[in-house]
């Protein structure tokens, strides 16, 4: 379990993380979302004792990271897959970490096997693709078989097979009762992997809620209707209290009316319906709505709504 209490980091006049209090619970995958520059990495680094908070504190398994006796047995982390010495072999890289943490070389071989790196373990890391470095970073995070995992953008650079592998691995870890904190910018992937979400913007907590609830809260749920006479149906639906707008191809987007009611109204008005589909909000939409006012860097004529 990870707890942060009023965690704050200021760099001069800039507040990178602002009184952030969250609890990352075991047994589920918690997605950590936020725009670039919102303080995600700084938060993770403070949790891991690499960056000193200006205020508040972060605890891993009830203790500050620096006070952990066997830190790699308490929490495994992937922060930067590039943090390797290019001239060292994958196995030596892991062995150096294992020796420092008192972990056996049998465990090194086990995590190499688990991450599919056994055949390249004696090759220099300098020749590794980003995907292979990600796997190596995950291997390092798993060395101590920790109950808490912190993975910062673990699927960057992975091929579809690798992404699926991470998803399965992470879900499996949570199912075993571990706490997994996972940051990613890939919303579709996050939607499939995480159970719970912590969303921050400009260093502040925006949401700390279940995935389903977060998505449901987004206002974008509507019903798509294609009909023989869209104009007439539109006026019928509007009179019945629907919020109707036309899509480019003549279809209608309807909010405020259930699909069944739309179908009944169309039948009463004698308009043939060709398609009736509920369009659920996606995590991506929900995320944009939630972070709309907290985006640090935005293209000037941004295409976002």
């Amino acid at each position: 379990m990870i707890e942060t209490h009023e965690l704050t980091k200021r760099y001069g006049p800039t507040t990178a993380v602002d009184r952030l209090s969250v609890v990352i619970r075991p047994g589920r995958v918690t997605g950590f979302l936020g725009p670039n520059g919102s303080g995600k990495s700084t938060t993770l680094r403070m949790i891991l004792g690499l960056t000193r908070p200006t205020g508040g504190h972060a605890l891993v398994g009830g203790r500050p990271y620096a006070a952990l006796r066997h830190p790699l047995h308490e929490v495994g982390a992937l922060l930067d897959p590039g943090a390797v010495h290019a001239g060292r072999t994958a196995r030596d890289h892991l062995r150096a970490i294992a020796l420092a943490a008192g972990i056996s070389s049998a465990r090194v071989d086990a995590v190499l096997e688990l991450t599919g790196l056994t055949t390249v373990s004696r090759r220099r890391v300098g020749g590794f693709s980003l995907g292979m470095r990600q796997r190596l970073g995950i291997a390092a995070a798993l060395l101590g078989d920790p109950p808490v995992l912190v993975l910062d953008e673990p699927i960057n650079g992975l091929d579809p097979e690798g992404i699926q592998w991470i998803r399965t691995l992470v879900r499996g870890m949570a199912a075993e009762g571990r706490a997994v904190l996972l940051s990613s910018h890939l919303m579709a992937e996050m939607e499939q992997t995480a159970d719970h979400l912590v969303v921050i913007g400009r260093g502040r907590l925006i949401a700390d809620t279940g995935m389903a609830e977060f998505v449901r809260r987004a206002s974008r749920t509507d019903v798509l209707v294609r009909a023989a006479d869209p104009a007439r149906l539109a006026s019928v639906l509007a009179r019945a209290g629907g919020d109707v707008s036309s899509e480019a191809d003549g279809a209608l987007a309807v909010r405020g009316l259930a699909p069944r009611r739309i179908g009944d109204l169309a039948a009463e008005a004698d308009v043939a319906v060709h398609e009736l589909a509920v369009r659920g909000a996606t995590l991506e939409q929900a995320y944009f709505e939630a972070t709309e006012h907290a985006v640090e860097y935005r293209a000037s004529e941004g295409g976002r709504r």
């Binding site: 680094r45 690499l50 960056t51 830190p71 930067d80 060292r88 030596d92 150096a96």
Partner: protein, 266 residues
């Protein structure tokens, strides 16, 4: 208390084993150090071949001629500079790649990391330095014996010069490590070490007698003080003074490095 001490002992042993693996698992150590040793050895030994026979030397030159000390001037400085730079690299390469973060995750007590690095880098440099200084000394004396100029390890100051040269390499590696920890960037740390080892001597040399007091503190003069068997001068510290100067450098630089590593964000 005892358990805490044992824990810290185990942590230190683990950290040292890790640092030793890191040191020997990259090419800069496997290739650069032996190459630098070989170059240093050749450059230090070769000049003795061109020295004249004892009978051809004036009395004044003979009085100044230092068969032990000369082993560790000139060519020996090649390995000194190489070891200094390797010392900085042992930590700046970790800062450069971000690997230092992974190191601190495994060993959150950063002083333990610094101490383990210092122990491993210092011992490795000391052993390499002693082997190299002894080999240089023995080879040089073999050449000089044909010219009736050779001294043995039992002669006054000779053993001290050999041990001093080896120890100086360890001190140099540690100075490199401390400077690298303070500056973090490889280029800055390398420039600082070269400045200290080469630049400082150029400055004090150019200033002449006025800078004698400062000249005693430059690393080149310290090395000379440790290895000379022909006595001290205004700008040359005695062997004891030179050893104390080494100690002072290490205390100050590691004091600063410890403060920095504790306080900074990694």
């Amino acid at each position: 208390m005892i358990r805490g001490a044992m824990m810290r002992g185990a942590m230190m042993r683990g950290a040292m084993a890790s640092e030793w693996l890191k040191l020997r698992s990259v090419d800069s150590m496997r290739v650069t150090l032996p190459l630098a040793c070989a170059a240093s050895f050749a450059l230090a030994v070769l000049p003795f071949a061109s020295d004249p026979d004892r009978s051809a030397m004036s009395a004044g030159r003979l009085a100044r001629y230092d068969p032990a000390g000369y082993c560790f001037s000139g060519g020996f400085l090649v390995v000194v500079l190489a070891v200094g730079v390797l010392g900085t690299l042992s930590v700046t390469s970790e800062y450069g790649s971000g690997l230092i973060g992974t190191t601190f995750l495994a060993v959150p007590r950063r002083r333990t990391v610094l101490a383990a690095k210092a122990a491993v880098v210092g011992i490795a440099a000391l052993l390499a330095g002693l082997v190299l200084s002894l080999a240089t000394f023995l080879t040089a004396q073999r050449i000089l014996s044909g010219k009736h100029l050779a001294v043995g390890l039992g002669d006054p100051g000779a053993l001290r010069a050999v041990l001093g040269a080896g120890a100086f390499l360890a001190v140099t590696a540690l100075i490199g490590l401390a400077v690298g920890t303070l500056l973090r960037r490889a280029t800055a740390a390398t420039a600082a070490v070269l400045g200290l080892y080469v630049g400082a001597n150029l400055v004090t040399g150019a200033l002449g007698d006025a800078a004698d007091a400062a000249g005693r503190w430059t690393p080149v003069q310290i090395l000379k003080g440790l290895t000379s068997t022909r006595g001290a001068s205004a700008s040359l510290p005695s062997p004891t003074a030179a050893a104390l100067e080494c100690l002072a450098y290490l205390v100050v630089l590691f004091g600063l490095a410890t403060l920095a590593i504790d306080r900074r964000d990694a």
